[in-house]
Symmetry: D2
Subunit: 287 residues, 4 copies
Amino acid sequence: MSSVNLNRAKLLISCKDQPGIVAATSDFLLKYRANIVQSDQYTTDPKGGMFFMRIEFDLEEFETTYKLIESEFNSIASKFEMYWRLSDPNKRKRMAIFVSKDDHCLMELLWRYKAGELTVDISMIISNHKDLQSLVESYGIPFYWIPVTSSTKKDDEQKILSILKDNIDFIVLARYMQILSPQFVAVYPDRIINIHHSFLPAFIGANPYKRAFERGVKLIGATAHYVTNDLDEGPIIEQEVLRVNHRYSTEQLKVAGRHAERIALARAVSWHIDDKILVYKNKTIVF
Amino acid sequence: MSSVNLNRAKLLISCKDQPGIVAATSDFLLKYRANIVQSDQYTTDPKGGMFFMRIEFDLEEFETTYKLIESEFNSIASKFEMYWRLSDPNKRKRMAIFVSKDDHCLMELLWRYKAGELTVDISMIISNHKDLQSLVESYGIPFYWIPVTSSTKKDDEQKILSILKDNIDFIVLARYMQILSPQFVAVYPDRIINIHHSFLPAFIGANPYKRAFERGVKLIGATAHYVTNDLDEGPIIEQEVLRVNHRYSTEQLKVAGRHAERIALARAVSWHIDDKILVYKNKTIVF
Amino acid sequence: MSSVNLNRAKLLISCKDQPGIVAATSDFLLKYRANIVQSDQYTTDPKGGMFFMRIEFDLEEFETTYKLIESEFNSIASKFEMYWRLSDPNKRKRMAIFVSKDDHCLMELLWRYKAGELTVDISMIISNHKDLQSLVESYGIPFYWIPVTSSTKKDDEQKILSILKDNIDFIVLARYMQILSPQFVAVYPDRIINIHHSFLPAFIGANPYKRAFERGVKLIGATAHYVTNDLDEGPIIEQEVLRVNHRYSTEQLKVAGRHAERIALARAVSWHIDDKILVYKNKTIVF
Amino acid sequence: MSSVNLNRAKLLISCKDQPGIVAATSDFLLKYRANIVQSDQYTTDPKGGMFFMRIEFDLEEFETTYKLIESEFNSIASKFEMYWRLSDPNKRKRMAIFVSKDDHCLMELLWRYKAGELTVDISMIISNHKDLQSLVESYGIPFYWIPVTSSTKKDDEQKILSILKDNIDFIVLARYMQILSPQFVAVYPDRIINIHHSFLPAFIGANPYKRAFERGVKLIGATAHYVTNDLDEGPIIEQEVLRVNHRYSTEQLKVAGRHAERIALARAVSWHIDDKILVYKNKTIVF
């Protein structure tokens, strides 16, 4: 909700599992009088597996102590060869949303943002079309129109990168119908969230909804995932399905798909904002 | 429920859509003083599409009237070139269940049968293993052990067909781990129901649960379908999904898959028993 | 979707069950060369129960034939003492939305409307607060601010009725925090749709979310229903639930409740628009 | 699954929240070379709230170390005034199931037990009817028939208590149609699990399914909870709903209710067995 506790930090850790991680980390936090209010921990395999932890803690005299923790935790981290990050409630994440023409995912994010459900700053919205410009600007959010064509794609992406530069923390592809190059993706590892339709069974290739209609599927779904270089094959964050039946036309299946996309994407984005996700290999740990 | 209304027949129809089908059919039924208690009708496309109808109706003096309807409806049917079938509540469908070693789908069907939820006769259970024999026999149902090997498959299927012959109306593959030959399938068109796991995205091939685990799926599903010659590609009857998370081991994903299979298969079987399903091309109409 | 078939009418019927209704109706429609593309029929009890039917049919030379059907169907209707209504695709229903300060249900309806998912005209939005005025007006929809106080309620409702008069077909209470008087409700029988939270078990009275939190519920729901004089006790149209857990604060339960409300209300409204609902006693038949 | 890790213990803790709990506990466990493989922690309110923690850890030289931990943890526990319990994988919990005549919940538990999904011992099944005796005994589980009448209830419960005595750890009421006395409930605090139907809205009192039918509910649910002296008002463990529609008869709503009950109860029981539940006031924390 809108009422963010400005004394509450989050620490996320992953490293090879080994004895003593929890003890060392909680001793460290205790030293700074951190009061742990929530923590989750998971190990893929106690023998040689990976260890993941997420801790929420409150600090008194937040500013001073937070800085100390930030600078001193390396002593622990280096000992266990941790990947770690600390999240400061006073620094909202800055989100860029990429869209094309479909507005359903964008609208859902904007509404939850305005309702105070997403504690994030929306730095900008980038589109390869002009269609949604006035809608976006009515929210007071900067809108950049960057048309992308196959012949100029490299330059177009450079243009986008220069706009994003230092201004954002992560990107949401809210039905952005351009494939990002590996060079672009590499700039934001595990920080680009995409949404795509999903079906059981899969209908790979063209016209998936038409084929889902022809097959008479009973469920229509959507999958939110981090973008990697394997198209739509990155780590899954969230999935949602809705029931349909033979009376749904191809067009109505698409509507159901849109509703599933809104729900799955909005949840994935809120979890990313709340630092609830750790990525390991091609998989997410959502605490 | 157990309280089957023995005066209630069901008529299922499909044919090319054209004006007058509903009127002709309802006039016909009225002539025999049938009281229509439920009916559903669907057209894929009013211009040149297919028409599907399912009618439940009650008859007075059931036996005489039912026979008349059965013999006289051809006059209507031939006019519209209908596929049609009539279902007599006094003749329970006879079901054969094929299993291998996993008992979860079998058990679900046996319970619902015993609880009076499935108004069907279970004529026999056929297995390529002996594991479930005593369980089945404790229910008083004949059990046939027909081991199937690749070299003798043709003969084995012949053996099965000779046991089934005239004794059953449809077959449920309740985790039967043998692929039926096209010759076998052709004997029971749209009358063999299978269940298989399903994932979004699809994990085709070996070890699907292991790959679902590695990909960190958030939903595990199952699809019940009619068997055609395209393995697991027949018309879908029902689908079910259950939520899972990163804490589920591959083994626990399999457990979730089993629960989804039980639910989806049992629903599909009950709809088949209640004559709720019409098949058209590779799709079901479930009324 | 947006592509409404302007030759497709809908006929809804309810009456005491008796032989011949379907035949008489389909004969009648055949006479006007109506092509029935979908129909559903349900009887509460074949002996002395109520009969409900909904038929979608296409007409050639729509305008002329529709008028004929409209004027001539009374001959059938009076014979069977039917309640019936006919729906003209060329006349969109006119909807008024009542809101207070919460915008989540309103926004959901406005999007679906704008996305072409609701084939309806939104005639006006009425609120007892000014908060949502500029939002509504950005959609080009008339907004009326009618503050309601307990002492002036009678007059306030008269004012509202005079604005609605002849301009609308039904009302959606999209989180309108005023109780309508029996006199008001009587003007729009089965034509006022409301949404309210719902819980298992029920938490009747004040602070339901706080009590749901204290009880540790695992599901949060919403119920869309027609308004009758029994507060929140009218015929249920649709219900939706979302999973929650102990980590949800009271505030977060409310957020989940809002999401459930959006989904349940939007579905109920779309079914009302598509003439899918018949009401009988305190119950809906949703075809 | 069946493959229980016999070196894995679980520690559950609750106490007033205060700094240092996690550090003290993890230091303690490290001293015994426990390898924490999963942990969850939750605080109702960091200022004066309650703290809950569940830790799974692996031990080398299990037997010796486990005993040491068991005897030494009191030093930590008393410092923080903890409620705590330790769970030994080598000691399966012993479950008693109470039933009356309905077998659906019992069957679900027996099947999951047999499938290795519930790592528990079923010590006995107690019933006030003889109906399910042969079914139970076919599983090789002792069955006790203890008829209960209102006049002899006190004695009947004494009889039951004397059979249970020292032989069981918790009780599952799998559709046991007798109300347990406060004296009985007091013997097994937070260790009696019950299942009951649940509806939105609530239909309190007689014939709930009939009233749900008359109201035309669209969802049918079940709630599993711990038994307290307030009938059906104890801490909720799990809830499940299934979709229904106007075509469901009262009888068919009951069938849907049974399916919801099976699912909700089986999940609740498996979580209790796996020590995933902590109770605080009238609420569960399910980790």
